[in-house]
């Protein structure tokens, strides 16, 4: 099963990381894993374009099946491998609803983060404005504050008592925030969530290799 799967991924990328976590959780270790470098432009290589014409990672194949949207891959793996590994979708209706809500809010969090951390990558020099950067920072601060409050309620996971696709999808984004200096004092609930989950086997074994034993960056320390 896993031997028929190939994943092309880049280190630290939340969309790639969430797929790797899902594969571990579903006991699908043994897939063909190809790490590529964004810095070297390998995501635009012929090998990637052959699977993902958008030239983006993750690029995933299962036999002849191609799936490059990280949420799609996670939903597909959970559905196709229901009977093995961790059950990632709670049966409880309320948790299930909350899981879906948080999963898709995860897109908003990721976007808010990218608008701050990758501003100069997305916005050409002549189009940059301090007013935009200030607004993006305020937006991210308010968004992260929202997620801090989500973890005030019943937890310890995003959908409640059980680890679910919401955590698979959103944890990599939260880890990225802390990697880039998010303050544990400002966001104690997020920090506790992050510190608990980083030792979960599926997360520990897929931790971005370039983050191990290297310091992060301080960009978000004052958020």
């Amino acid at each position: 099963m896993a031997k028929d799967m190939t994943l092309m991924w880049g280190a630290g990328s939340p969309p790639c990381w969430r797929v790797m976590i899902a594969l571990e959780e579903k006991n699908l270790q043994g897939y063909n894993s190809k790490q590529l470098s964004f810095e070297k432009g390998e995501h635009k290589s012929k090998d990637v374009m052959a699977i993902n014409p958008r030239g983006q990672l993750p690029a995933f194949k299962h036999g002849n099946i191609v799936l490059n949207e990280s949420y799609g891959i996670c939903l597909y793996l959970e559905d196709q491998f229901k009977s093995q590994g961790t059950k990632l979708t709670p049966d409880n209706k309320a948790e299930n609803a909350l899981m879906l809500q948080r999963m898709f809010e995860g897109l908003t969090l990721f976007d808010a983060m990218k608008q701050v951390l990758f501003y100069t990558r997305f916005v050409p020099e002549n189009e940059r404005h301090d007013s935009a950067q200030k607004r993006n920072a305020e937006n991210l601060k308010s968004e992260v504050g929202r997620w801090e409050s989500y973890l005030q309620g019943s937890g310890p996971y995003l959908a409640g008592k059980t680890f679910s696709l919401a955590d698979v999808i959103v944890f990599p984004v939260i880890a990225f925030l802390f990697r880039f200096g998010l303050s544990e004092e400002h966001y104690p609930k997020l920090a506790a969530y992050h510190n608990t989950l980083k030792d979960r086997p599926s997360i520990k074994s897929t931790w971005p290799p370039n983050w191990v034993d290297t310091p992060g960056q301080p960009a978000l320390k004052d958020l």
């Binding site: 299962h62 979708t89 209706k93 909350l98 809500q101 999963m103 189009e127």
Partner: protein, 225 residues
């Protein structure tokens, strides 16, 4: 079942429309619903904030469960009501994978459309640039051409992932709004065929937006694409 559901929605909003199409497809007519006005800022009202603290539409409740994220709500309805109405997620692995792929790509299409049609809402005055307008248009053209390719073999019963599915629920509203805002039928014949095949599907026809946001100012905005 439907009686314990409430949907607050705005006309012409693809995310709202997706949820309404799904409710029809799953035979959940009879849900409580209220049409709100974006122009009058109803989406920031207490009524909405109580369900959706983000002050956005759709705002959707089923009993005590709230899902305001449209794709989340559609997935929820399909999974909770699997045995009624139309099946919106295929079982067979290749079709299911294609369905999820196109469903999520539908969000990319949404974003690129919004950046062109509603550029002025994203970039306040003083931050707008011709270079950005051009880039957003070029990105949208490339994206629309991609979808033309996805719909190469479109026919009755053969949509984005075979039979009508959540991929169509997510993407069709955006394609409908692209044509409403002036997209050329001649330059995008497959998209136009897809549109004409689905516009009379009962779930879509019944929930067709009563109006579109600022249609007078924006109805030609995509015509040169």
């Amino acid at each position: 079942m439907a009686k314990s559901m409430t949907l607050l929605w705005g006309a012409g909003s693809p995310p709202c429309w997706r949820v309404m199409i799904t409710l029809e497809e799953k035979k959940l007519q009879g849900y409580k619903h209220k049409l709100l006005s974006f122009e009058k800022e109803d989406h920031k009202s207490q009524e909405v904030l109580q369900i959706n603290p983000r002050g956005q539409l759709p705002a959707f409740k089923h009993g005590d469960d709230i899902i305001n994220e449209s794709v989340g709500a559609c997935l929820y309805l399909e999974n909770q009501f699997k045995s009624q109405g139309n099946k919106l997620i295929p079982d067979s692995p290749p079709q299911q994978a294609l369905m999820y792929q196109r469903m999520m790509e539908g969000l990319t299409l949404t974003e690129k459309l919004n950046l062109v049609v509603f550029y002025d809402l994203y970039a306040p005055e003083g931050e707008r640039h011709e270079s950005a307008v051009k880039r957003n248009k070029d990105n949208l053209v490339a994206e629309l051409q991609r979808w033309e390719g996805y719909l190469e073999n479109v026919a009755a019963g053969s949509y984005l992932a075979g039979a009508f599915s959540l991929a169509d629920v997510v993407a069709f509203p955006n394609i409908a709004y692209a044509f409403r805002y002036g997209l050329s039928v001649g330059r995008y014949p497959k998209l136009a065929k897809y549109y004409s095949l689905l516009k009379d599907r009962p779930s879509i026809k019944t929930t067709w937006p009563p109006q579109w946001y600022q249609i007078a100012q924006r109805s030609e905005i995509l015509k040169d694409l």
